[in-house]
Amino acid sequence: MVTINNLSFAFNKGELLFNKLNMELQAGRTYGLFGLNGAGKTTLLNHISGMLYPSNGSCIVNGHPTRERRPETLSDLIIVPEQFELPQVKPDVYLNLHAPFYPNFNEKQMSELMDQFVLDRSKLLSKQSYGQRKKFLISFALAANTRTLLMDEPTNGLDIPSKSKFRKVMAATNNEERCTVISTHQVRDLESMIDKVTILHNGSIIFDQTIESIASQLSFQRAEELPDSAIYSEEVLGGYQIISKNIQNSQEQPIDLELLFNASIEATDKLNQAFKTDEVQ
């Protein structure tokens, strides 16, 4: 669905942000793209959407390089940027102007999503709050029913009820044909909807595992004493938050994405080793 081949990119000459990055995104999955500030999450989404061109390598969506910006590719791909402005028109006008470009756009679905997000149809989009505009753009992106959906910090600016509604509508509109990539810092907002965790660091993917694999290979615990088997730990009030190898293959435990993210940055090799050992066995 989305293939990134040896992608290299630099904003400034000599300062490579990505150096021969490779990635394969499949339909029917929701990818959580995590990384520190400046790791290149937004840049990667801009490459996938064809808004940036690689210095070397390629980014291919549905068999075509996105830098060609073919209408066929663009009508099956949509991006919800983190920072954006919408034109000085009412929601209905925006729909009339943009929806015709997306052949799978569902007006009824759009109307339902707007109702669920309690969006104001009478007010100019440019006059609405950031959160309202974001909810409108999310609704539009979901109603467009494109096979590739890219979201950059979708929950930024949303109030607490809206975050919950966002999770619900994402779950309700999920389908086997869609490949969703969500880039975020708000790992706790989205942990229930992600089925693959991809962590970008210093222009490389340092961790890339499915939720099933993480749940079966790692154990997330809280303990008073720090065990030797811990892959990564963080001191908390009254003990430690620990990630260790799930040796007994015991029942799946809830994944602490925040802890996993910190582990991937601080103990990259140790964390990945836990998966490699299993692959060898």
């Binding site: 801009n46 959407s49 064809g50 808004m51 940036l52 061109y53 910006r69 073919r70 209408p71 066929e72 663009l74 009508s75 099956d76 791909l77 949509i78 991006i79 940027p81 920072q83 954006f84 402005e85 034109p87 000085q88 028109v89 006008v93 009339n96 102007l97 943009h98 929806a99 015709p100 470009f101 997306y102 052949p103 756009f105 007006e107």
Partner: protein
């Protein structure tokens, strides 16, 4: 809702939709611009009458053609400079860059709007204004005011149109290339380019046209017929080259 076929080749329907989109998103600012120009033209027409500066027949509505042509030129170049305003900010660039239409359709719509459609709308508005002022003149100033569109088909109008289509292509390139203050930056580039060209031509004539300025004038005079014949073709070629460069720049435009 009528959905557009996502074909990768040129689609006329999609071009129309891109034009509709550009109009709808800009109609407020363009509307304000039109009202401002119409207001200014009214002032041009009205002030001399009020202050009795000239006999009334000097102010027949057709006399507005000269200020109208100036406004047409400046307004059009401003409009052209801002036609890709979405590309000028990373917050809005995604709207244009990820719009499922070809770069050719996006460029064609921008050119059609800021050249052909703009000229037609300007002419219609000018005619409407002239008619309204004529009726007003007959009712309130003198019943025998002669109706005149005044040289609407004159050489001056033709030359302005030709000049506009030439400069417009340069400002369209500026609209794609520059990120901020597109109008001023394009104007500055144009001035620098023209000055550079004159200096180069000066050197050229000094080297090849003889040792004095007289030589250069002789050269120009002797080639006058050829120059007159080739000039329009040369102009069209230049416009086509600039439009092609603009298209290539748009095709390669990335988020700011």
């Amino acid at each position: 809702m009528n959905y557009l076929e996502p074909t990768n080749s040129f689609s006329f329907q999609r071009l129309v939709q891109v034009i509709k989109r550009t109009f709808a998103l800009n109609k407020r600012s363009w509307g304000i611009g039109v009202l401002a120009v119409l207001g200014a033209l009214l002032l041009f027409w009205f002030f001399p009458i009020v202050f009795g500066m000239e006999p009334w027949h000097q102010f027949i509505s057709g006399n507005l053609i000269q200020p109208a042509l100036i406004f047409y030129m400046i307004g059009g170049l401003f409009l052209t400079s801002a036609v890709f305003y979405e590309l000028q900010s990373p917050d809005t660039a995604f709207l244009t860059l990820t719009l499922p239409a070809t770069s050719f359709e996006k460029m064609a719509s921008a050119w059609l709007i800021t050249s052909v459609l703009y000229t037609i709308v300007s002419a219609v508005l000018y005619l409407a204004l002239v008619l309204i002022l004529h009726v007003f003149s007959m009712l309130y100033i003198a019943s025998d005011v002669p109706f005149s569109l005044y040289q609407l088909s004159s050489n001056e109008v033709g030359q302005t149109l030709v000049s506009y289509f030439g400069y417009q292509s340069v400002f369209l390139l500026g609209a794609v290339v520059f990120r901020k203050n597109n109008f001023l930056k394009t104007l500055l580039s144009l001035i620098i380019f023209t000055a550079g060209l004159f200096i180069l031509l000066g050197f050229f004539f000094l080297i090849f046209g003889g040792s004095s300025l007289e030589g250069s004038f002789t050269f120009q005079f002797s080639t006058n017929d050829l120059f007159t014949t080739l000039y329009p073709i040369f102009n069209i070629l230049i416009v086509l080259v600039i439009l092609t460069i603009s298209y290539i720049r748009l095709k390669n435009k990335q988020v700011a």
